[in-house]
Subunit: 268 residues, 2 copies
């Protein structure tokens, strides 16, 4: 079994680093003239995966947009995950889970269980309950060749309020990156929004020194960051970045996704 | 339609403040000699709810322990929520969700949607993406007479690492409590672990001045805090506290839950 880090490297070498975010929100389903239901969400996601085939190595379904339909939304997600696995796509589940240790085991069983229908390659994880509280779920991920992405500097405007707080001299963001480097051996990545000012978050050092771990970077496209600016934003760590685009690739409808993926890849 | 605050006050006046945590973990299902499956989790939760009837006004299912079975786990949870609603129990879904605004709308639709099968009275919410990023989901909760609980000082040992960080002069915990007081009108509560040193988290003021908002307090029982110590821990805010007990009430098996609830209520 190869490691998550090795799987990412393989996917990137074959298809480049671009990640397709799969966000079947009410608005997107309306754009695609699909019903606002679990069936509509599944149809949306399967069409995204078809467009990704042969073009993209990594996809990121946003769990909230399936959870909104309850159990039928999760059933749709399970079918989407199976379709992605069948095509050999790496899947990052964007769920931002985080809880105390005994509860985190439940989330580990959900997303990294050997026979779990929700099994994925990686999960986004919130370090709010203590960065060190996330070590155990990383171990479970690794057991199946998976990994996690800790939220270090998220892409939303309100992120600074908490993530620039200081623990000792370092910001929360810097502390999270340091922990990921220490525990991860490359299987623990971080989420850093492409829209954010790294200086403000106290993490500008990743621009001058290679961070050595995967960086999942949302914020491209609809949230305002440009793929052409990736190297300026991440400097010495640029080769680690998995830029995610969601709405910008899907908002023009199902027929345009493949074309917009090809166009976006040219900007990288 | 009455407000969440009014519903809590009614439940507490009828049954006292004790909340029964429903945690169908692998270990608990094993204790109860139930299969480690969605069916086992449902059976466990329904037996808990039966024991709660007439004794307890508030229950708190831990979503992770249903999520670990994927869509069939969520289907089980939906049936459990329906059973709780049928008995007039207030339900706090312990899911600790938190994301950027457009995604948070997905979680709002899941847990506070008018016709959602996962509809509950309240949801625990993580403020990691910025305390102010949680205002919108509170609005959705209120639309159906519900509320949210923001994680202010969680009950796990690693909680201090991040939640005692400083934003300006105040700790993250204090900032979260202040926000909840400002936006909530009593429908936005906070989670404060009964096991934690309030001084260390920079929130000892809630012991001398009534905080005025609901406090969901995990940590009683298996995690070490005693119900008899509630007034010492929370002082002037004691009347706001909803103490949660999970494993301590369920670990002795299904026949003992009702008896252990009665015993716990005597300690309050």
């Amino acid at each position: 079994m190869s490691s998550f880090q090795a799987n990412i490297e393989l996917a990137v070498s074959e298809h480049g680093p671009l990640c397709l975010g799969i966000d079947p929100s009410e608005k997107e389903l309306h754009n695609w003239e699909l019903p606002d239901s679990a069936t509509g969400a599944k149809e949306f996601a399967l069409r995204c995966i078809e467009a990704a085939e042969g073009r993209i190595g990594i996809v990121k379904p946003q769990v909230a947009f399936f959870e909104r339909f309850g159990s039928s939304g999760f059933l749709a997600l399970e079918e989407v995950l199976q379709a992605a696995r069948d095509l050999g796509l790496l899947v990052i589940s964007d769920a931002k889970r985080g809880d105390i240790g005994s509860t985190m085991l439940g989330y580990a069983q959900a997303w990294f269980g050997d026979d779990s229908p929700l099994r994925v390659d990686a999960l986004t994880v919130s370090p709010y309950l203590g960065p060190s509280s996330t070590v155990e779920i990383l171990d479970h991920a690794r057991d199946i060749g998976g990994g996690i992405f800790l939220l270090a500097a998220t892409s939303n405007p309100e992120a600074t309020e908490l993530q620039t707080s200081k623990t000792g001299k370092a910001t929360v963001s810097a502390t999270v990156i340091e922990l990921a480097q220490k525990i991860g051996l490359g299987d623990c990545g971080v989420v850093i929004g492409a829209t954010q000012d790294l200086d403000q978050f106290g993490i500008a050092h990743i621009r001058t020194t290679d961070v050595g771990i995967p960086i999942l970077a949302p914020g491209y496209g609809a949230q305002g960051a440009k793929l052409a600016g990736l190297k300026d934003q991440f400097g010495a760590s640029s080769s680690r970045v998995i830029p995610n685009m969601s709405r910008a690739l899907t908002m023009a409808g199902p027929e345009s996704v493949a074309k917009l993926i090809d166009k976006a890849k040219l900007e990288l």
